[in-house]
């Protein structure tokens, strides 16, 4: 973000600004830092009253770095690894949170994101390049639809799921939930995609058409390569949204072993009411993949978010 110029040239108080920003960033990091610390504690240190911030005190000293009692028991409890000589890493993860629910979420998030990118690119292109009857009404309609409260959708979709299951029609929880996720996260993506297509000059396409390229040829050879950053942004935003989604997966999927990881976590919380290190470890393990994803692709995320909200 540094290449965008600042509206202020006179900066005599750099250090004050840095200090203020560091303070804000630190305060917003405190909950995360505390969770990380908690996740490495021993049960005996968690149950102490009054609670201690760092488990580093001894009988005589209040802080002694060499006496710190860090432990991985929380992570062990979540992963529940067992030695399995035949597997690739030499052990097998038995914790259901990872072995069952995480896989489901990866499947749903990947499938949803790919399809959302496909549909958003198709309709974003149509909205950006064609003028047709009902153009504006449809665009507005797609936006207004996002105002339907999630719980309203779920109310009807929940009943729909029950009816389809009863009717004996071919039904799969996984297909159903992916369609629902697509419907929930598509509207915003269409707007983002349209914004990206609008930013590509039409002349480029016209030149290709004059040179004898077909409309579809121009789309795939000229336009698509330029929209790859936009497609990545939509993919990532949808991926994170599905990863973090809780309610739809919790209510709409009938079979427990097909539910997503956020349900697994919610379930897990109920089983470990006072094992705070286990809860902390579970939260961190589940957030880590998307945090890394975000850190690596942060520019894409920022672009997509600004695009989606300012245009919307």
């Amino acid at each position: 973000m540094s290449k965008i110029s600042s509206p202020f040239r006179h900066n005599n108080n750099h250090w004050l600004i840095h200090a203020a920003l560091i303070l804000i960033v630190f305060i917003s990091m405190v909950p995360i830092i505390l969770t990380v610390i908690t996740s490495f504690k021993l049960q005996q240190d968690i149950e102490r009253t009054p609670p201690v911030l760092l488990p580093c005190d001894t009988a005589t000293q209040s802080f002694d770095l060499s006496a710190c009692r860090w432990s991985l028991t929380g992570y062990q409890h979540v992963l529940n690894p067992a030695p399995a000589p035949k597997s690739l890493l030499g052990f097998k993860i038995n914790g259901t949170l990872i072995s069952v629910y995480l896989g489901n979420t990866i499947l749903y998030a990947t499938a949803t994101s790919l399809l959302v990118v496909l549909l958003a690119v198709m309709s974003g292109y149509a909205f950006s390049r064609f003028r047709f009857r009902g153009h504006k009404a449809l665009m507005t309609g797609i936006l207004v639809i996002t105002g339907v409260p999630l719980l309203t959708n779920l109310l009807a979709l929940y009943q729909m799921g029950i009816i389809i299951r009863k009717s004996g029609l071919p039904y799969d929880d996984r297909v159903f939930i992916v369609i629902v996720y697509i419907g929930l996260f598509l509207p915003l993506s269409v707007w983002i995609a349209k914004g990206f297509f609008d930013a590509i000059p039409r002349d480029l396409e016209d030149a290709a058409l004059i040179d004898g390229c077909s409309r579809l040829g121009a789309l795939f050879r000229i336009i698509m390569p330029l929209t790859i950053p936009g497609m990545i942004a939509i993919f990532l935003l949808t991926f994170v949204n599905v990863w973090n989604e809780f309610l739809a997966g919790y209510l709409l999927i009938e079979k427990n072993n097909l539910k997503p990881v956020m349900f697994g976590l919610y379930n897990f919380l109920g089983e470990n009411l006072i094992n705070l290190q286990v809860i902390g470890a579970a939260c961190i393990l589940i957030s880590l993949p998307i945090i890394l994803l975000f850190l690596y692709f942060r520019r894409s995320f920022f672009i997509a978010m600004v695009e989606g909200s300012v245009k919307g």
Binding site: M1, I4, H18, L21, I145, G147, L151, G183, I291, L295
Partner: protein, 314 residues
């Protein structure tokens, strides 16, 4: 006269209808997942389950809903929550964005670190905040439950009863649990709002600020009379979008307070969940869902009007 071949005709028809085919899949998915549920909910809100099946009861469900004290309580709670959440997020978000817009180093790093809470899911965000104030074990409860700091007997955020309301039955000042909920939701929404405001500050032409400075305006005056009027549409969009998200998210409440203690954090979306899936009263939930949908619709139309004004003025 050249004869038009049927094949060419067909190709032309296909080319003209291409936008339709491109949009069709999107429309189908949205009809199933968004439009049908809305119509179904509207129908459901006028029906009630009898032993013989569903029967039409008119506005009976709405009458029942408006008559319950849970609903009227939740209106007050929702207002307190929304106002607290939106005001706090906007103020901190504006200050942060303003600081980040200065020409200094590390702004990218600050913004990235600031964004970590946004990446976490609502369930996890709620749980992280609950862990901090959990009675006896939470790290902050050592401070909060100290009777010397919070007389008479210390503060247990998740179980404390609400203070006496100042204005009749309006739940103000908010209960400790509500304050915690506001803080947690602000924590998670702050990065997004900061980014929005930052992006629009960076679009302000330098000359305008510069000329203001030459005319002798100080930084506060520049903010008040130059920046805020220019980015006003973005601020309004941010306020609407914060409200919209807060009106629809229950994930945070799920893991943080579950509507409790008692019904102190039972804001409207949570009440909807509770009526629908805890009491399994789908008709009542549908009536409430429509009430929330109307509020949402007003917010979205408001956003559209603001962005349209912005486009017209550009």
């Amino acid at each position: 006269m050249q004869q038009i071949l049927p094949q060419e005709n067909r190709r032309k028809w296909f080319r003209n209808s291409m936008p339709f085919w491109l949009i069709l899949p999107t429309i189908i998915v949205l009809l199933v997942v968004q439009v049908y549920p809305l119509l179904y909910t509207a129908w459901l809100s006028l029906e009630q389950r009898q032993q013989t099946g569903w029967s039409f009861v008119g506005i009976q469900n709405f009458k029942l809903l408006f008559a319950t004290s849970l609903f009227s309580d939740s209106i007050g709670l929702t207002i307190v929550f929304l106002v607290g959440h939106v005001v706090l997020t906007m103020i901190v978000g504006f200050i942060t964005a303003f600081l980040l817009s200065r020409k200094i180093r590390f702004t990218g790093l600050y913004l990235t670190l600031l964004f970590l809470p946004w990446v976490l899911s609502q369930i996890i965000a709620g749980e992280i905040f609950r862990l901090m104030v959990l009675p006896d074990y939470g790290i902050l409860s050592g401070i909060l439950q100290n009777p010397a700091l919070f007389p008479p007997s210390g503060l247990s955020v998740l179980t404390a009863s609400p203070p006496t309301p100042w204005f009749g039955s309006f739940p103000f000042p908010p209960s400790p649990a509500m304050v915690l909920l506001i803080l947690a939701s602000t924590w998670r929404a702050l990065p997004f709002v900061t980014l929005l405001i930052l992006a629009s500050i960076q679009l302000i032409p330098l000359e305008i600020i510069e000329s203001g400075r030459i005319d002798g305006a100080n930084t506060l005056q520049i903010i008040r009379y130059i920046m805020v009027p220019i980015i006003l549409p973005t601020l309004v969009v941010a306020i609407f979008s914060l409200t919209l998200n807060a009106m629809n998210g229950v994930g945070l409440i799920f893991s943080l307070t579950a509507g409790g203690p008692g019904t102190e954090t039972q804001i409207m979306p949570w009440l909807l969940y509770s009526i629908g899936w805890q009491q399994l009263n789908f008709s009542g939930a549908a009536a409430l869902a429509l009430v929330i949908a109307v509020v949402n619709l007003a917010l979205i139309i408001g956003t559209l009007r603001v962005t349209r004004v912005e486009e017209a003025s550009n």
